[in-house]
Symmetry: C2
Subunit: 151 residues, 2 copies
């Protein structure tokens, strides 16, 4: 994780902008999210942060992750059918999600960046994020695939 100090500084500024207090909990949650490098759930972040802040509560982790998303320091990964996953990587990238094991794979594809949001939408709504979302089966799940069973 390079430029960590830089990113922490950005968090500080975002908090100050929004009149939110800079608390150890917020800093540690943010650090843990960045350090994970992938798409952790609140529970996963909680486990990590506990090492530095043994008394932090899961509720605080949840609230903080929501707060980070609200101020634009992170976002909730699109997709469904699983617990909420967060992403602290704000660089333009896309996600592939396995519908079976719920694993999320990052990928970059130039053609998918700078999506032109249609006029119609830009007028009607305030667009916060536009992304290409691809789902399917990952390799290991594909191998286990056989007959679909509904029960």
């Amino acid at each position: 994780m390079k430029n960590l100090g830089n990113k922490i500084e950005i968090l500080y500024n975002l908090c100050r902008d929004k009149q939110l207090k800079i608390t150890p909990q917020r800093v540690e949650v943010y650090k843990a999210l960045l350090a994970s490098g992938d798409h952790p759930s609140a529970e996963t972040v909680y486990a990590k942060v506990k090492k530095n802040l043994p008394n932090i509560s899961l509720d605080t982790v949840n609230r903080t992750l929501n707060t980070l998303s609200l101020i634009g320091a992170a976002f909730v990964v699109e997709g469904s059918g699983d617990v909420r996953r967060f992403d602290g990587n704000l660089e333009n990238h896309q996600h592939f999600k396995c519908v079976k094991c719920k694993k999320i794979f990052d990928f970059k594809h130039n053609a998918f960046e700078n999506i032109e949001v249609p006029e119609e939408l830009r007028h009607k709504f305030k667009v916060l994020r536009a992304t290409v979302y691809i789902e399917g089966l990952c390799q290991s799940c594909l191998e286990k695939e056989n007959k679909i069973q509904s029960n």
Copy 2:
């Protein structure tokens, strides 16, 4: 809802293909999903189907919606931070989701159809769905917007 009979026939065939039984519950859940025309939750579908099958259980609705998604008669709407929403409209279209009120808006945009899935992904994974996903604030939520509060 036009061509309903046609779609039911497709459901029949999908079930037969996958060796799944054609039950009144499956047919009614599917009909309710189509009739809704939008993106109902299991709970919403449950309420509808109950009118025709008063004894159906919520669990069956949940299982059936999952089954419909598995066999390709429907899909789970991308997005997060809300209960699972299902879509029975298999025509190529995109979604805008309000992050605040969770409402999902369909839209069509030619440029977003026929997304070219990168080679890399097509080789590694079995791609089932690729779509552009846009989120933000809808008009009515935008009006209520003011200072972000985290607690």
